[in-house]
Each structure stands twice: as C-alpha cells, then as structure tokens.
Symmetry: C3
Subunit: 399 residues, 3 copies
C-alpha cells in the first residue's frame, strides 16, 4: 500500500456522517448497522492494514482479554480473531466448554460475568442450532449489560458474532472489502450482479449464515443480487424478506431463481456454496437437541441422497464462460469442496478454483482486519482519532 | 472508585509492619502467612483494582510466562489467573497433561524445571485427591528450589495454590476482600458471626477446601465462626484444630453445631455450601488412585443417598429471616446449586440466590486482583514501591 | 553471567564471515546451514540469555503471532517455543488439528496461508512418520512462498523445525551450546570423542531425529563421533552417509561400532538414547498410514522382544568408568528412561542419571534461547545490530 491509499482512506472517512458511532454496540447482524457504520468498519480495517504494512504498531491496549468461544471447529476464524486481538494488544483466552464448569450446569448469565472481569471483547461462534446461535449471543450480551449496570464489571465487554445461525458478519464484511478493493470503490458495486448460488457438496448440514449474510448485506449496496438454489433449499424466510426490502431502500435488485446457469448469466461476481435447506436445519436442530443419533444418521442419509440429485450445481469453466466477459470474480468463504481435490465431486471444479485460489486467499486475508476494526469501533467512540494517535505515536511494530 | 479510596489504601499500607515481606514465598495456605502479609495482599489487590478502574497500566513485566496447571475443570479460576497474569504483563502457558509428556512417566522434579526456564509464576489447581494436592504443589516447589540453587533456573518461579485438597486461598481472600468492602474495613469484622454451613447438593465429592479455607482464615480476624454440618460431614481434623487454636490468638469464637438453623441464628454472614465428608474423600482418594470404577460408582450411590437425608439443609428465605435483621450477607464461591435453576433441589433457593446474585458476582470479581496481588508480592520485595512506580510512570492501559 | 561473557560473545560475533545471513531462511536441517550460520545462532542465543539474566528486555515485536503445530505430545519443546516467542514479544497461537477444519479435508497449501496473515514464525513438530515430517514442513514453506509472492501474505513467516523424522535442530543446537559452555569454546570440541549410542528402553518407536541430528551436526565441529547400536538398529542411510562425508570436510572422525563399551572407551561425551530401527520405522509408517491397529500391536510386540535382547545396552556407573578419566559428560534430550525411576530397566542407571541430572536440565535450558535465536535470525538481516539496539534501548524486562 502506498500514500495514495492512505489519502483515499482519510478522504472516505470524511464522507461519513460525523455522528457515526459504533462504540458500546455489539455486532450481531450487518442489517442492524447503518451503511455508514459498515463503511466505518471497512475504513478502519483498511487503515489498520495500511499501518501493519507500514510497520506502525496499532497496540491500543496495554492489557486486557479477548475471550473467544467456539462451539464448532474453526481454523480461519480462530486465527483471524487471535490475530485481530493481538494486533490491538489484547490477549486471547478461550472459553473451552470441555475444560470449564459450564457443563456443570452453570447458567449463561453467570458464566458471561465470570469471564468478563478484565475482558474487552467476546467473540462467539455458534452456528450449529437454528434459532439458538444468535439467541445465545444476545443472552450473553444481556448478562453483560446486567453485570455492568450493577457494578460487577468495570467495563461492558463488546460481543462480536463470529458466525451464528443467521449471519456471518465478519465473513461477509471481509467479502465486501474484497469487492471494494477489486472494483476500486463501494460506489462501483452499484448494479453489479452477484450470484449467490447453492452448489453441490458431498456433505450435509452446512450452515445458512454465509448465503443469508451475503443477500442481507450486498442488497444494501445497490447490487443486483441473485439467489439461486434447487427447489427446497430455501433460506430462512425472514432473511429473504429482508433482502427484498433492502432493495426498495437502496436500489439494486433481488431475485430468486432455481437455475445456476441463469444466476451466472452476465454475473460480475459468483459465490457458489453449499448449504442445507432451512427445513433440514430445523429438523436437525431438534434431533441435535434431543441427541437423537439414529435420527441424525437417517437425516444425513436422506439429505445426501437429496443433494446427489443436484450434482450438476457445480461451478465449472463452462458455467464461468457465461458470466460477464467470462471473467466474473469467484468468491468463497473457504474451505471449498473442490472436485478432484478435497472431494470427488463438489462445489467447484479444480480449474476454476485454481484460477481464483489466490483471490480467495486475499478475500480471507481481510478477516483479521475486519475483526480488529469491529473491536476498535466497539471500544472507542472516535476510531479516526485513535488511528491518528497511533500514527503520531509512531511505535514500530517490528524493531 | 475515587480519590478517597486511594488515600484509604495508602493509609492502610502505612499501618503494616514495615518488615512485611512475601517476596520469594510460595502461597500454599493462608495460615502460613502473618496477618500483615494477608493485609498486604488485600491492599495490593485493592490498589491494582483502583489503577485498573482509573486506566493506569500495571504491566510490570515486558516478557515472562505464568504457567497454569489445572488438574480439574475450571472456569472462574482459569479466567482469574489469566486476567491476573495479563494485568501484570505475563503470558499464560497452560501445562495440559494430556498434551505433554508428563503421562510418559516423566518425574515431577524434572517437569517442574522444564516448564520454568523463563517462568515467573506457576499456578496449580489440584483438589481431587485428599492428601495429594497440596503435597504435589510442595513437590513442585522443592524441585524449583533445587533447580534454582543449582543454576538451572535464572529465577525461582513462585507457586500459587489455585485450590488444593486443604485450602483455597485465592477464593477465601477474595471472600475476605468482599467482606472488607461490605463492612467497610477489616476492623469491623471483629465479632461478626459467620455461618460456614454444609448444604444439600444432588452431587457428591465436592472438595473440602472452601469450608476449610474459610474457618482457617476468618477465625484470624476475630470473627465468630460457626461451622455447621450434619453428623458425619466432618472436615479434616487438623484444620478444625487449627481454627480452634486461631481464636485463642486472635479473639473471636469458633464452634461446631449440627443444625443449619442454629448457625444462621443472628448470623451476619452465611456461607451455605456442599462438601463431601472427610471420610468419604479418604475412601474416594483410594478408589481414584486404584482407578476402581465400580467402587467409585458404589461410593457415589451411597453418598447421594446419605446426602438425600439432609435435603432440608438448604438456604431458604425462611432461614435467612433468622439471621441478623434478616439481612445476613450470603456468600458463595460459585457455581451454586440453586433449587429450580441449576438443579431440582440444591444448596440455596432461587429467591435467596437472586437477592444476592450480584453480590456473589462481585465477590468473584475480586479473585483476579487477589491472584495478581499474590504474583506481585511474590516477585517484588516492596510492592508499595512498585505500585508508586506504576503510578508515576502513568502509562494508560487503554489508549 | 558477567561482563567477560558479554565481551567474549561480542568478540566471537566479529569472527563470523560478515556475509553470514539467515534472514528469510527456514530452519529445517542443521546440515543445510553453514558453520558460521550455526555459530551465529549460538551467539545470538548466548546474547539473549545474557540480556535475560541482566534484566534487559528483548521484545522486538509489538505484535505478531508465533504459530505452533505439534503433531505429537510435547512438554519441553512446547514450553521452549512459548518462552522463545514471548521473549521476543510474539504471541503463540497453537494450530490444534482436532479443533480446526484441517480434518475437514482442507489442503496444507490453504491452511498454511490461512494461519499466516499476521504471523512471523511457524514452529512444527512432526516426527511420527518416516519420510513425511520434514516433507510436510517443506510443503508448508512452499505454500508460504506462493502466498507471499502472490500478495496474500504481507510477510513471509519463517518455518522452524521443532523435530521431524530426520533431524531435531533445536535440540542438537541446544546440545552444542551446552558443549560449548562445558568445554569453554567450540574450538575445544576438536577431536573430542562423543559416543552417540543406542540404549535399551522398554518402549518402542522412538524417533531417529536425535541420533541423526547429533551425528549430522557434531561431525562438522571436528569431533570424533562414534555411533553405536546393536545389529539392525540402523539409522537412515542418507544421514549416515552425510556424517561420513562431513568428516572429510571438517576433520574429525566418524565410525560405527556395535558395542556400547567400545563407544564409551575414552569418550569425552556420551549420549545413550533409545531409538527404533530404521526398518521398523518404515514398517510403522505404513501401518500408521493405513491405521492398521492389529499390525501396530504385532510390530510393537516384535520390537519390544527385539529390544529386550539388548538390555545390557544401558549406561551404568561401570561403563562410565571407561570414559575419559571416568568423567565423560552425559547428554540426554530428556525425558530419559531411568532404571528404577521411570521404568524397571532403561537407558541409564539411577546413579549415573542423578550425577548428571542438573547438567541435563541445563542442557535443556538452552533450548528456549536457541529457538528465540532462530526466530530473530529468521526475521532480521543483522541480528547483532538488533541486539545492540535492544541494549541501547535498555527497557527493563521486570520493573
């Protein structure tokens, strides 16, 4: 990055409504935030990246914990959160339910306070149970409000959604920043066609949070969002309704089609990714909650059989040719199911993936900065002022 | 906290015997420390809390490890230790026996040295085996002495007892600081009646360290300590003897009764908490050491049946009415077994717990500062001087 | 350590070829590095140790991750890596395959990039599979090259071999520094006889990396290296060939004998340690890769029976008497199988081990500094300049 980038970021900061404030606000769903709040997150992320690349330390905390809770396996989100915390001077402490007394019947209300005495931020990933993940985060947040108001906590730690059953804001904002960079400005996303489409995978039960997050976010930037999936692979109705409503406020277009080819036609961006049907996720949630192992095996068998009927929903060179100039940008949250690489038949052909592999890595590379930006905006009323302070302080990150 | 608090802490520091020194001393049992040493821990904790609340960084180490070893599940102690280490600038490295070669037959003597080359403090929780936990900590300490004397270690890391079979000093000192705050000074604890009483729980094998720690500590501050439990639920005889002896030196009173109601009568403070009888813990220790699973199941069955005979040993609104003005302070180390919340019938009714819930959270909130104070006092000869240095240095904790 | 040590280290730094540079170079095998590169690692380690002992902070990073990946249990290497990272200001983030999506079929190429966005160094231990451990590290390194070249990573993290199937450079360089200290200079190692000998152990499948690392390294310092093992307990042929070749370049002597007594005769240093025969490790690798549990049990039985034929291959007081003046220095990477202590019959008698116990602990104590020196040399072009900067900056490590 060079000085031009720096000037551009500074200029864009000035375009924001000066009242824009995210301090003290948890980050659950992108659609709960104003456009300027989202833009401020992106700009903060860009500036943190610029400082990192120019060896300017962005340590804002001399001590403090960043608590993570992963209720599902995670590599990139775990490392992104750890990187973000570290970049700002916070130390990660993982709440591992296996090693804690949480399993001893401790209430969420209590645990939330017990882990927060010296904590600045809590990042939670909970995407397994439909109707539960996001609700859990809000339960934690309410407990923190209570603890802070009643003097238990000297500060109210922020809560960041690291993926829930509804949305995956750290992912979709990283996607958006990737698009901003690729198309050289959010303003150029206007009317761009993005195909958020289901794709075949030999696994089942993949969460809905990414496709939902994408249609819920990209419709707000005036894009032409096409959601494509085979019959039955619906998303949560409320989120679909919200995407429809977004376009009436923000321009752009939102449509649902049942053909991958149709979605790809003249698309500027494609996001082919597998997910489980909403109704399957509902059934699965009940089975998981009852620990019905036989029922889960049965459901898995059914779903895999159903998936197998749509093996042609895969992103191939042929399909890519039908996109805008045959050169649509391919997005994926990773890891992708790559035909002939990570599975026999999957979401994307090896050729297409290889062509965009480095681009998807760069897409993922924005996530640590997005999370750091969320933390910084949660903790400080005026992020730009803080960024200026860091710059003037001018401590080298590496000696 | 305000300036008055600051002045009060400073004034109290001056009351201490100027020879008071905890540097280089491990913290195993509160009764191995002088009253002034304990007061110094409390004052250091209060000052660290004051600085934290006034955004003064208390980072004393620019590098160094704080090793934790948890031989049992833990949430609040784990987070308290992590918070304390972080507050002073140390990085926690957990000794997870599952992931180490400890299980490969490595000796304690050796492991203690191997984890300590660049280590400032080692916190150990080992409360499962009667006669073993505290002994293990002393074995580690002896190995560290040996390693330091013979030039293996450039410094002798301190050892902090994070709960053993005998005492739970980080908990009881947090309890004591909570009482100091509640009654506005240690001097006002004189003659206050505290009921440390057994309570029914639908689980078994709970350690003796909290009740033992409480009677061993509170008897030294001139309190009227009443230990109450059903017949057979005795504590370790040596600790009971010690509590008796304490009162002859420090004033106050110590008695044992077999009625919860009697203990509660006119009590200023109640601490209703379940534990396993000493004799059960002895049997259990043998069974655990022999990995006798059937014996353990048998013992559990017996104990739960025995416990069930004392379901009326529960802290209810009715019992609370008999305390001083019906307003005794309720203490608990958490998590409590709350009737109708975390279990069907337990240590305390939902109503009583809810009334004191926030108070118990605050009680727990002292623990990170108590641990940090123990570390600071272990590493520095003159903690007050260090605190002054931190204040004069005046680095902001948060930018 | 005193000022003389400081002057000696500075003097030795000046003897190095001024072109000596390790920056940007991964550390896989000692024999890929020049003698001056190895000397520079030792000197950097010595200086970091000197600074630590003189309370000079060596924090070179204000943020940044040090990623560790342990594919086998580890205590001392885990703590050494954590200590080294912490000493320089880096925060360890462990890549725990159980908790990551690595098991979900993610490619090494991808994972390597995903964990590296803000990472300075990656330490890997992978010693289970012959032909796989070192290869895995190089696969990671190649992926990082790719990611860095293509702009995914803002920096190319270094890779440090924390033990593979071929070599164990952090161990053998710690051994070498221990020898340098013991014999008061690398130049005095010339012609010293070191007996790297197999020893009986009641376990099987111990890796070849230590004996291979020792013969591959010590032959380059003009030592008289004797490798001793019972018939059949061969090492990897390529490494043995390399050790032979080393002596033609560096003087010294390399021989293989089939008698522990012969190896011990007039030895200045003895390193009795068990390992599995190369051919066994080959069989084991295939069985592990096929998850052939029965085959593994069968192999273990065979190997233990074979080991048992060589129980007299144990380091006793009697055998030690035949070494140079009966006073050879005993080395071990720890934990040793000590007869009557950690097993009934093992690599070394309790008496011999006890005599050298503290010495082996000191040997282990160099490892954190060796790893820190590897990191520092990987990240900085001129380590001496950095060391001088740290000294002039003069920040106290402990307040």
């Amino acid at each position: 990055m060079n000085k031009e980038t720096y000037k551009r970021i500074m200029r864009e900061f000035k375009w924001l409504d000066p009242e824009t404030d995210l301090s003290g606000q948890d980050f659950f769903l992108t659609w709960e935030k104003s456009l300027d709040q989202l833009r401020q997150i992106l700009l903060t992320a860009e500036m943190l990246k610029y400082y990192r690349e120019n060896n300017i330390s962005t340590r804002c905390f001399d001590s403090g914990l960043a608590v993570s809770q992963f209720r599902d396996n995670s590599t990139r989100t775990r490392f992104s959160f750890a990187s973000a915390a570290n970049l700002l001077g916070l130390t990660v402490q993982d709440l591992d339910e296996g090693k804690s007394q949480v399993s001893h019947g401790e209430t969420v209300r209590e645990t939330a306070n017990m882990i927060s005495f010296l904590t600045e931020i809590i990042g939670i990933r909970d995407d397994m149970y439909l109707g539960a993940g996001n609700a859990y985060m809000r339960e934690v947040a309410a407990a923190l409000d209570d603890g802070f108001e009643k003097g238990v906590l000297p500060q109210r730690p922020g809560v960041v959604n690291l993926q829930c059953d509804i949305d995956h804001p750290t992912q979709t904002l990283a996607d958006l920043l990737h698009l901003k960079d690729h198309f050289e400005g959010l303003e150029w996303l206007q009317c761009k066609k993005i195909a958020m489409t289901w794709a075949y995978s030999p696994s089942y039960g993949k969460p809905l949070s990414v496709p939902q997050g994408v249609i819920g976010l990209m419709t707000r930037f005036g894009m032409h969002v096409v959601l494509a999936h085979p019959p039955g692979y619906n998303l949560t109705p409320e989120v679909v309704a919200l995407a429809k409503e977004n376009v009436t406020h923000c321009g752009g277009k939102f449509e649902i089609v049942d053909s991958m080819a149709e979605a790809f036609a003249d698309a500027d961006i494609v996001y082919p990714k597998s997910w489980a049907p909403y109704s399957t996720m509902q059934q699965r949630t009940v089975l998981l909650q009852n620990n019905n192992q036989e029922g889960l095996r049965e459901l898995e068998k059914e779903c895999l059989a159903q998936n197998a009927r749509f093996k042609d929903w895969t992103c191939t060179e042929e399909k890519m040719k039908k996109t805008r100039n045959g050169e649509a940008l391919y997005l994926h949250c990773l890891p992708a199911d790559i035909s002939g690489v990570s599975c026999r038949e999957g979401e994307v052909s090896a050729g297409v993936f290889e062509k965009y592999r480095i681009a998807t890595y760069k897409e993922a590379g924005y996530k640590p900065y997005i999370i750091a930006a969320m933390i910084l905006n949660n903790r400080f009323r005026e992020p730009l002022k803080i960024l200026h302070t860091l710059e003037k302080r001018n401590i080298k990150r590496v000696l």
